[in-house]
């Protein structure tokens, strides 16, 4: 069994353990209600984390996503305000395209100017946030600016689950196919594991990195529309602030290595679910909200420790096993 598989099973067990512990502490904590709240806590981070996978696999990181989300969401919100009858599909499409375009900016700066991705995206983090204020004239998008159907997508409808969940499931499945079942996925691993070797093998490494940032941008742009649907407003200051930390933490907890070249879509999805489970269970078993950040910080550090333990034990064997 590969280490990735072991890590995935470990994550699954942790999620079960958390709910089990919660049930032991307080039987009321493990009700259907809790599971529904758990479900609602996931979609936004999940979609954005899927976008972060190719970037991390390439050995890069995109920390501009909080502001990228806000800028896409506010632009789509303004579109809806200007044109209330706009079909929802167009709204989603617009969000995705705007996000992808912003992703091109990130990817271009990283690959063409050879500036480290942390610094580029730290710069665009503030750049995009400022643009959000400029384009919106610091005005919030209110619930009555958004079509009712958009907000209905995040509510439990006739299907028993909110339609937004289906969107999320489709994206996770599509990312799984892209990363693990298509030729392109392996190239991301190759770039992250050893960029020089990848280039020698004839892989257009710069194009892969650019593609990774565009994918991240597109999915985060989509997340922006999902945000508007879920919360019913878009605020230029608050929307997406600190979101990058949630997403990167979830991906790292899910075993996607920050050093590049290692990780899986399922692991990442489980990481998002684990973090969401902890977030939901803590208040239910009487741990005050003020402890939340402390717990999250420790979880990220623990996940890094586990990642390193696997790396030193498995060595190069792990990377080959994952890429195959």
């Amino acid at each position: 069994m590969s280490d990735t598989r072991k890590q995935e099973i470990g994550l699954m067990l942790s999620i079960v353990l958390i709910f089990g512990l919660a049930a032991l502490v307080d039987a009321r904590a493990a009700t259907l209600d809790t599971f529904i709240i758990w479900g609602f806590a996931m979609p936004l981070v999940m979609v954005a984390a899927m976008g972060q996978i190719p970037v991390l696999l390439c050995g890069h990181v995109d920390i501009s996503i909080g502001s990228l989300l806000a800028l896409s969401a506010i632009l789509v919100g303004m579109l809806f305000r200007a044109w209330p009858e706009m079909p929802l599909v167009l709204g989603f499409l617009a969000g995705t395209c705007i996000g992808a375009l912003l992703g091109v900016i990130n990817g271009f700066l990283v690959t063409r100017l050879r500036i480290h991705s942390i610094i580029v995206t730290l710069g665009t983090l503030s750049l995009f946030r400022g643009l959000t204020f400029i384009v919106s004239d610091s005005r919030q998008i209110d619930p009555n600016d958004l079509p009712g159907e958009l907000i209905a997508l995040s509510q439990v409808g006739g299907l028993g689950v909110p339609p937004i969940m289906i969107v999320v499931a489709v994206i996770v499945a599509a990312m799984f196919v892209l990363i693990h079942r298509s030729g392109i996925g392996g190239l991301f691993y190759a770039v992250g594991a050893n960029e020089f070797a990848a280039r020698m093998r004839g892989i257009a490494t710069d194009r892969m990195v650019l593609l990774a940032f565009v994918l991240s941008g597109a999915l985060v742009g989509l997340t922006g529309v999902l945000f508007a649907s879920r919360f019913g407003y878009v605020n230029p200051a608050a929307t997406g602030s600190g979101f990058e930390l949630q997403v990167i933490s979830a991906a790292v907890v899910g075993g996607v290595s920050i050093a590049g070249g290692r990780g899986s879509v399922i692991g990442c999805a489980l990481g998002v679910m684990l973090i969401a489970a902890i977030e939901v269970i803590m208040p239910k078993i009487g741990i005050s909200r003020v402890w939340q950040d402390v717990v999250f910080g420790l979880i990220v550090l623990a996940a890094l420790g586990i990642d390193r333990a696997i790396q030193t034990r498995g060595g190069r064997k792990t990377q080959q096993g994952d890429a195959a």
């Binding site: 580029v120 400022g130 933490s249 003020v290 950040d293 402390v294 999250f296 910080g297 990220v300 550090l301």
Partner: protein, 339 residues
């Protein structure tokens, strides 16, 4: 960079040059736009708003030169300040609370050092983790309360002046002198550069890399505690969300100052110039009634521009060199053909 480059190209390839140039341009433009701008007293007072970040950016510069980074600095400032706040609230005298706060800062830095240097985990993500952790602990300490019951004399480090200079800036300049002495005139400073250029090579020739890197993180914690204390005095209140997002400003100052994230390059002069560039630009925008959020955008754009311009100059210089080499080659082959 090669020897045949003109002085202009060579200067433009240094990040410090561009930063100093930009600072001058901003100063000139702002003085023309707003008559009140070119008042030294006013500018010095404006600088007190940024003095804490400027101070932390000095150690950040050294960290980045050694190939490290610490994104938890703003959280360390907050947790130190909250430690101070809780001490004061508990009736601990200031003379005892200050060393305790410094100790707390050093302990946070030591924890970062332990995880990054001893366990060998990547600094970027570890400090994203401790960013959340320290901010969380600050929230556990104080909850949503703010502490304001400091003794009367504690308030207003930015208003109090000694010899016409605000106390905040005295602290900043003291830090500047110390940082320059360590980085540019001591063995430790040379070791910091050596580790940043090639850590394993440095270790092989006997540089105690682990000790220097660990020491830098502890120093960062200590300086963050000082910055936290300064902020508590300036704001007159301490809350868990003190200095939220400050890591951006600190990293921007260090990187604008020419510290390369890949390690090995950077200087205290650069960090000093970048500090003033930020002070001038943000003050100018305040005078022009430009909102804080748009200022943020400008700072971000500036960060990217300051990195992109040297690269572009380099690219142009390379192309010119190549063109020159080719013409020489052509001339050579022509001569051969004629003879």
């Amino acid at each position: 960079m090669n020897a045949s480059d003109g002085i202009f190209t060579r200067l433009m390839l240094r990040n410090e040059t561009l930063t100093i140039l930009l600072a001058v341009i901003v100063a000139v433009v702002a003085s023309v736009l707003s008559p009140g701008f070119a008042d030294p007293q006013f500018l010095l007072f404006s600088a007190t708003f940024f003095a804490e970040y400027g101070l932390v950016a000095l150690v950040m510069t050294m960290l980045i030169i050694s190939g490290e980074i610490d994104l938890s600095v703003a959280s360390q400032m907050a947790l130190s300040a909250c430690t101070f706040g809780i001490c004061i609230e508990g009736g601990v005298p200031v003379a005892v609370a200050i060393p305790l706060t410094l100790l707390a800062g050093a302990a946070m830095g030591a924890f970062n050092a332990l995880v990054i240097v001893r366990l060998g985990l990547p600094a970027l993500i570890v400090t994203i983790g401790t960013l959340t952790l320290y901010r969380g602990l600050a929230q556990v300490l104080l909850g949503d309360r703010s502490v304001t019951q400091f003794p009367e004399w504690w308030y207003g480090i930015d208003y109090a002046t000694v010899l016409g200079l605000p106390v905040s800036l005295w602290v900043y300049f003291a830090g500047l002198a110390l940082a320059a002495a360590v980085l540019h005139f001591s063995r430790t400073g040379r070791r910091i550069y050596q580790i940043g250029v090639n850590r394993s090579a440095a270790s092989k020739v006997g540089v105690p890399a682990a000790r220097v890197r660990g020491g830098l993180y502890v120093a960062t914690g200590l300086v963050c505690a000082i910055a936290g204390l300064m902020t508590s005095s300036r704001l007159g209140a301490v809350r868990y969300d003190l200095a939220t997002g400050g890591e951006l400003q600190v990293v921007v100052i260090a990187v604008l100052g020419g510290a390369a994230i890949t390690g090995g390059t950077g200087s205290i002069l650069g960090a000093f110039a970048a500090f003033w560039l930020l002070v001038l630009i943000q003050t100018a925008m305040v005078l022009e009634n430009i909102g804080a959020e748009i200022q943020l955008s400008v700072v971000g754009g500036l960060l990217i521009a300051s990195l992109a311009i040297p690269k572009l100059v380099q690219a142009v210089a390379n192309r010119r060199d190549r063109a020159r080499a080719e013409t020489q080659l052509d001339a050579g082959s022509n001569r051969k053909a004629q003879s």
